[in-house]
């Protein structure tokens, strides 16, 4: 029932907003729908806490501690982003960058995108997971090209082709998974694609087929996670799309894609009886982290800078999941949460910063502290949080990942530390002059929405100082579930 609500609200919202069009209150409807989704997600969380993992609707849906926390996170960031986009998109429309038709497209597709991600998270069927991931791509392609500039169309085309090809590989992986399971679970019904059924017999799945299936699934869904070397679409799509879209792409879509990879890893781990899947995740994760941290130095565009930082952090999380074990998984889950809250907060602040200075070029953005102190503070604090400064939660998770790496894989620790240091230098040296220093004034036509920024950073700060025991227990449960 709760699942129906969680999926139904955004779907209905998408249909409603497509009909309502670009009326003045369309943004308010979007906020209300997102709030309803968030409440439904909260109900779902309560139910899982009370009754434990559940399946629903002929086992087509499956909720356990691992995905319910991502559902809650997705609904929360979805809600705050809709709050943020209300004034942001109005300012964009005032600047003449958007027509009413495109605003309608934006609001409707935003809700459809939320529905697709929530479906990918809650479904138990690996086939439906693929369909939902493809739906998430399709609904965001037109959002990336919303401004219809040359750059945005190029970015969207790249996103479409690269993710389309990537997701096609994932489909082939899914077909191989089905091959491996068909004999055990029977081909006729849907049983052979249900994750819970697969998980029950994972020890008997044919290892060679499963190994190949996992490679395809990892590369396919990994493209959407933004893992190097298939990360090219990510900075372009983030830089050229509207800022709320960058925030949800970075904060949510990458998580959902990684969730799909981890679900497959749990199956492959059981079938292969070796650490091969974990080692592959570690390799891809390290490569992405190192590559992204060096690319950070070459960025001039503020949104591209933070897009590369997303690749870096997804690399760290993938690496942690690759190490496996209760501590590393715990840290990876915590880092997923912290990254998505912090990064979306940064994009909110960066979006208003670009509106204030009328450009995304970092050498033109100067003195935010003087023009609009709260935007300046938001960007500065967000930047410090994402760099892993101590009072914030990102520090806790990165620290846990590093000490686990020192214990289990000492060779990887210096590589990680160098990457983190390089990223620190690159981001901090760009951030400092943007926030301090002086500049001419461009007032905004609507007051910016900075409450979401400080809510996110507040949660991140709290998690750095104190993780509530209930939440910690929850992470521990999910970490144990992932195993490895």
């Amino acid at each position: 029932m709760e699942i129906l609500l969680v999926l139904g609200f955004p779907l209905l919202g998408a249909a409603l907003l497509a009909m309502v069009g670009a009326k003045r209150y369309a943004a308010e409807i979007s906020v209300a729908v997102s709030l309803a989704t968030l409440l439904a997600a909260a109900l779902l969380v309560l139910r899982i806490i009370r009754h434990g993992p559940m399946t629903a609707w002929n086992e087509e849906f499956f909720i356990d501690p691992f995905n319910v926390f991502l559902v809650a996170l997705t609904a929360l960031v979805g809600f705050t982003t809709s709050v943020f986009s209300r004034p942001y998109m109005r300012i964009e429309a005032n600047h003449g960058r958007l027509t009413p038709g495109r605003l309608r497209l934006y609001h409707s597709m935003y809700q459809l995108f939320m529905a697709a991600m929530l479906l990918a998270l809650t479904t138990n069927n690996m086939g439906f997971m693929w369909v939902a991931m493809e739906m998430a791509t399709l609904s965001t392609v037109l959002l990336v090209s919303l401004y219809r500039t040359r750059g945005s169309i190029e970015a969207a085309w790249k996103y479409f082709i690269l993710c389309g090809v990537g997701i096609a590989l994932a489909l082939f992986g899914t077909a191989l998974l089905y091959t491996a399971a068909e004999d055990l679970l029977g081909g006729e019904g849907m049983g052979a694609l249900l994750w819970t059924h697969l998980n029950a017999v994972k020890g008997q799945l044919e290892p060679r087929v499963m190994g190949m299936a996992f490679v395809f699934l990892l590369v396919g869904y990994g493209t959407k996670v933004g893992l190097a070397p298939l990360h090219n679409w990510l900075p372009d799509a983030h830089a050229e799309g509207p800022t709320p879209v960058s925030a949800v792409l970075s904060g949510l879509l990458l998580n959902v894609a990684l969730y799909a990879v981890i679900r497959c890893k749990i199956l492959a781990d059981g079938a292969l009886h070796s650490n091969l899947p974990g080692h592959m995740l570690m390799g891809f994760g390290l490569l992405s982290t190192v590559l992204a941290s060096f690319f950070l130095w070459r960025q001039r565009d503020i949104k591209r800078l933070f897009a590369y930082s997303s690749i870096e952090h997804m690399g760290i999380i993938t690496f942690a999941f690759g190490m496996g074990g209760p501590i590393a998984n715990f840290a990876a889950l915590l880092h997923m949460t912290m990254h998505s809250l912090t990064k979306s907060a940064i994009f909110f602040a960066a979006g208003h910063a670009t509106q204030l200075s009328g450009t995304q070029r970092m050498d033109k953005i100067r003195g935010l502290m003087a023009i609009h102190p709260s935007v300046g503070w938001g960007l500065m604090l967000g930047g410090l949080a994402i760099l892993g400064m101590p009072p914030f939660g990102v520090f806790t998770s990165e620290y846990l990942i590093l000490i686990t790496a020192m214990r289990d894989h000492p060779w990887a620790t210096p590589i990680l530390l160098v990457a983190l240091a390089v990223a620190f230098g690159a981001i901090f040296s760009r951030l400092q002059p943007m926030v301090f220093g002086d500049t001419p004034d461009h007032p905004l036509p609507h007051s910016p929405a900075l409450v979401p920024v400080f809510i996110h950073l507040g949660i991140v700060l709290m998690m750095g100082v104190y993780i509530p025991p209930a939440l910690a227990e929850w992470y521990r449960l999910a970490a144990r579930l992932i195993g490895g």
Binding site: R150, E154, M190
Partner: protein, 221 residues
């Protein structure tokens, strides 16, 4: 081989035809002929699916064959033909450099595909397991086409040919995916082609042609 009956032999021949069509697409310069080749690929796919369904007595494969017929042989080509006419690119010639190299790379990909298919086809239970190599080869050749071509329209054809290859792979290894999942995929594909259509107009509006060489501004500097 105990079970190779007449139908299976025909299907294996059709698989060969599928591979030939993929190579032909790789070397074809005219958009119009490319689209016709794509339709042929769809026809071969439908025929082989029907034959498999008949020889294995699987009703759900008939449905999936009907779905393929409707979508890949009728609806999608129709949409693409109309788009082509509206955009006036029916007679577009795309300069192709190095066709021999492309062919050689394609050949290597086919060999690689058969190597890749070996462990899986040894395990698959269907009568068609030997053709999995061809399915993977079609997928890889479509990749090559997407990479080597610089026109938006051609890349879309490559994308659809990739889908065909995936569909063939699913039929050969497992007699197709469950019906509901296939319906979902078909829906996604249809929406994708609509979005591609919208994109053609946007690209042309902004860049005055469908040449992707001009989409090169977003590079790391």
């Amino acid at each position: 081989m105990p079970h190779v009956n007449f139908a299976a032999q025909v299907v294996q021949m059709l698989a060969g035809a599928l591979l030939l069509i993929s190579f032909a697409m790789l070397a074809e310069r005219r958009s119009r002929r490319l689209l016709i080749l794509l339709v042929w690929q769809g026809v071969v796919l439908v025929t082989s699916t029907v034959l498999v369904a008949a020889s294995a007595h699987l009703t759900h494969l008939y449905y999936s064959a009907a779905l393929t017929l409707l979508l890949k042989v009728c609806v999608l080509p129709l949409i693409l033909f109309r788009l082509m006419r509206k955009l006036g690119i029916e007679r577009d010639n795309e300069p192709l450099v190095n066709v021999p190299t492309l062919m050689l790379v394609g050949l290597c990909l086919v060999i690689f595909a058969f190597g890749l298919a070996q462990p899986v086809s040894a395990l698959a239970t269907t009568v068609l397991r030997k053709t999995l190599g061809i399915a993977i080869a079609v997928i890889l050749l479509s990749f090559l086409m997407i990479l080597a071509r610089r026109k938006a329209f051609t890349q879309v054809i490559g994308f659809l040919s990739l889908e065909n290859g995936l569909f063939f792979a699913a039929t050969t290894t497992t007699y197709g995916m469950p019906m509901v999942v296939e319906l979902g995929m078909a829906l996604d594909l249809l929406v994708a082609v609509f979005i591609f259509g919208i994109f053609f107009f946007h690209i042309r509006e902004q860049f005055d042609s469908l040449d992707l060489d001009q989409l090169e501004s977003l590079k790391e500097d």
